[in-house]
Structures are given as structure tokens and as C-alpha cells.
Amino acid sequence: MKGKVDRRKLLKLLGAGGFLLASRPALAQTSAQAEEALPSFTGPQANPYWNGVHPYAVYPQKLPLLRMTDRPVQLETPRHYFRTPFTPNEAFYVRYHLDEIPNEIDLSQWRLKLEGNFERPVELSFEDLIRKFKPVSIAAVNQCSGNSRSRFQPRVSGGQWGNGAMGNALWTGVRLKDLLDYAGVKPGTVQIQFEGLDRGKGPENLGSGRFIKSLDLDDPVIEETILAYLMNGEPLPMLNGFPVRLVVPGKFATYWLKHVTWIRALTEPDKNFWMATAYKVPDTPNGSTTPEAFASGQVKTVPIGHFNMPVRSFIIDPDGSYPLVAGLPAKIRGIAFSGHGKVVKVEVSTDNGQTWRPALLGPDYGKYSFRTFEYTWRPTEPGKHVLAVRATDEKGNVQPDSGVWNPGGYLWNKIERQEVVVLAAK
């Protein structure tokens, strides 16, 4: 009898509690427990969130990251890890195409093989790579071609990344040029092909069986490309390409092969699926077209390697999950980068892009690195405000305020915005 009364009373109180909970401001996104979870998918509209809407999951050598797909592994880096110019290895995003990913590599048996049109084909051990060649280091951003694909309108199929399919690291390793000289590239070579240890269950000769990419031998980026065995001063996590991965500064990550084991000198351009069919973009100045033009079959496409990464910038703080207070300084912080060269200017707008003020730039770690920026804003008006950020690189490229569209979902670099709420302090 007593229990019954209590229950009824408590149910009533539960209602009141629910109301109180709902009227509290949202907790910061970075906290362990969200008050309300994001939806499990977005669309057909653009994904409005900074990251994709994937749940957190734990993988070997990684902090909890956003699991876009579990097999093959595709993990997005949560926004707050971009507060620093170098992305921690254990938070660095992961993108595989195929599901037979190495769990174990015996260095006493693993060899890097240079084969094909070389004077002398060679096999090098991990120790050879470390000892026989002069190490070089470069800070460079690794960004997936499809980073921010979930912004596209209309939406396109493929990995529905938010902005977190990118990271910056200090990469140390062997210059590709030194390896090519060591083996001696024979005349008639047009491309250098790379293949790693990852394999898929599909047929050998299709994209579902092997992942292979090639760079033109006369592409200037060959001079800057390295085979890295250190990432931020440590051996690469397995999921980022142990023992060595290709670092192709300024280019999208599709060329940055992981677990590189074969380097081949080709006398004919590579016709494999991942060069000839996938990762193709319209041959227009910004790689953009329209669904109609594409459907008509009139759009000529080229490999995404013909493009360097367009200039981008991101607001990392404030992230909109906590309110600002009128009269108190609010630090607007973030990162910027460009595949075309050094970021020379970052501008911040606190009125949705109507007026712009220069932000203070952080240290310069080289032209392919993230560059941090900071702008102190002292909001006076309570209510909703829209922040925006826009970067300019040394070649004069400025971020546009319009989004590109192409069927692959590549090359997004629209000006980023962040809505924030300012509380009155009265």
C-alpha cells in the first residue's frame, strides 16, 4: 500500500525533475557524457555539426575516436584535439578502404621493395631505412579527400565525414628521391606506384582487392615526398601506417599510403581503379560542377592529385556547447592550412561574415603545417551570434563563402561558421 503512494508521488516528481533537466544549458561537447546524444544520422540536408554524427569507439593505440565505420576502420578525430598545432598520434584520424589490415608485422621479415623500371631493384629492411638514409623532417597536414563530405548539398555517397578527417604531424623519414636515386630510375619511367599491406576480399584486379596509388615522376611533389617512420617523434601507430607511410605534402591523403611495401617504377600511366576511376574530380578551377552537368556526362574529370589542398580554416573554440558571457573576453581559436603554401592571414567575423578582423597567428611550423590563430572577442549583446573564419594563403587563395559540389564529395573549403549564445551577466 505504502509503496503505491510513494510511486505515484515519485512519478510526479520525476516529471518535475525532467523539466529542470531540460531547462539547464547544454554541457560542453568535450565532457564524457552528453546531456542529449546527437542523432544517429543526418540528411538529406547537410550535416550541421562540426564532426560527423558517429559514436565514440576505442581501437588499438587510440583514444576514443568517432567510429564512422568499424570494418574497414574509419575513425574521425573529435574537434577538441585540434586545439594544438600538432594532432596527437593517439587521436589522429584513420581511413582505410579495405578490411585486411595488418595486426602484426615482423620486422625481421618485412622488406620495402623497389621494383619495376629501376637500374637495380632493391629490398630494404626497416633498419636499412633508418641507418642508410639521411633522416628528414617536415610538418604536414594529412587530410582525407572527402573531409567534410557530409556538408555537400545534395548529399553524395561515401564516408560521411564531418571536419575531423585531418591531422597535422611532424613526419620524419627518408626522402623518396633518395630511395629512387638509390635504385636508379631508368629512362622511360612516367609514374612511381605505391602499394601497402592492406588487402580486401574482392577480386585482385578490382578496387575491392587492392589499394594502389601512383604519382607522376615529373610532379614537383616527388621532391618533397618522404617515407616516414616517425610521426610526432614516435613510431607510427599501426592504424596510421606502421612501419612506414608516404607523406606527400600539400596533397590529399589518398596518396599518403600506409604500410608502404612496394614502390614501382612504371613505364605506362597507372590504370588501376584507385587512379583511373576513384578519386577523380571535375577538371574545373575549384573541382566543382553541378549534379545536372555531371548527369549529362559532359564533365571531364582528372585525378585529385592534380589539385593541391585548398586553403581552409576552422573554429575550434568556442564550440557552441557552452554559453559565453556578455562583457567577458571570449577567445576564438582555431587552425588554418593550405596545400598551396603558407597561411598568411586569418580573419574572424563575429557578425556572420559581414565584417572581418585579422586574428593573431600562432608559430609558423612550415608551409604545409596547421597554423593556429586566436582572436579575442568581448561580446556585449546577449543572444545568438554567428562567428565565421576565413584564411588566405601566400598564393593569394582566399576561402570562398560557397560550397563546391562534385559526385565524389571532395575539395570542400567553404568558410566555416559557429553559432554561439551569449548570456547577459545581469
Partner: protein, 134 residues
């Protein structure tokens, strides 16, 4: 389960009522919806020259219930997990994706045409802008 909610409700009440300053709500608690994640034990280094990380965990998404679900779960998880399906935005037309899986990626080696038809019907029934629920 019910009992746990009652306790939560009780705590909620205490929090609300005991606050001494008007406008302040304190002491609310609710059951956390997230699982606990265990810390990894120190790595056991492989023998001498072996770099290893162990098995990769699967966190495969649950598909919507409906006719054809089992077919999708078996045939569409040969090359990748079905998380590739739930990861997509709702697609109005799944035919191009099916064609890509069957022809471009060679899925027809594993998936007979009549099964492919049933899979397409399932995807249209649960994963378009009109039909997608979760």
C-alpha cells in the same frame, strides 16, 4: 530497472528543493547512458622483432528490422561491415550504390541477381529520406 528510476527521481527532487539560492538548481543526477570503457593493459611486446596490436574490434551498427535484413547482413558484410550502410545519408536511390558494389567492386562474384534485387528492395524500404527512421 523501474526501481533505479525511482531512486534517480528521488535524487532529482532533493537537488531541486534543497537549493538555497533562487534560480540555482544543484545536485541533479541521472543514470549515464554510456558504457564504461576499460583502460588497455600495457602492451605485451611481440618476440624481438614483431610489432603487433591484437585484433581490431568490431562495432557494427544494427540494421532496421524488416524483410531482407538477414540477406543484407550476410551478403553486404563480405568486404566490409554493414556500418557502411547506416553511415550513409538517406539516399533516394540505392541502385547506383548496388551497381557499384556488384560491378565495380566485383560483388556479383558473391551475390546472385535475385538476392541483389531483394537487398535493393530492403534498402529502399528502410534507408531513403522518406523511409529512414534510425
Amino acid at each position: 530497472m523501474k526501481k533505479r528510476w525511482l531512486i534517480v527521481a528521488g535524487l532529482t527532487l532533493l537537488g531541486g528543493v534543497l537549493a538555497e539560492v533562487p534560480g540555482v538548481v544543484a545536485g541533479n543526477w541521472a543514470q549515464g547512458p554510456l558504457g564504461l570503457i576499460l583502460q588497455p593493459a600495457p602492451a605485451t611486446p611481440g618476440g624481438g622483432t614483431v610489432y603487433k596490436v591484437g585484433a581490431y574490434p568490431l562495432y557494427t551498427a544494427e540494421l532496421a528490422d524488416g524483410e531482407g535484413k538477414e540477406l543484407v547482413m550476410s551478403y553486404c558484410s563480405i568486404c566490409h561491415s554493414v556500418t557502411y550502410i547506416t553511415m550513409q545519408p538517406p539516399l533516394a536511390n540505392w541502385k547506383p550504390t548496388m551497381d557499384k558494389m556488384l560491378k565495380t567492386y566485383g560483388g556479383e562474384k558473391f551475390i546472385p541477381p535475385d538476392v541483389a534485387e531483394k537487398i535493393l528492395a530492403y534498402l529502399q524500404a528502410h534507408y531513403t529520406p522518406e523511409t529512414r527512421k534510425e
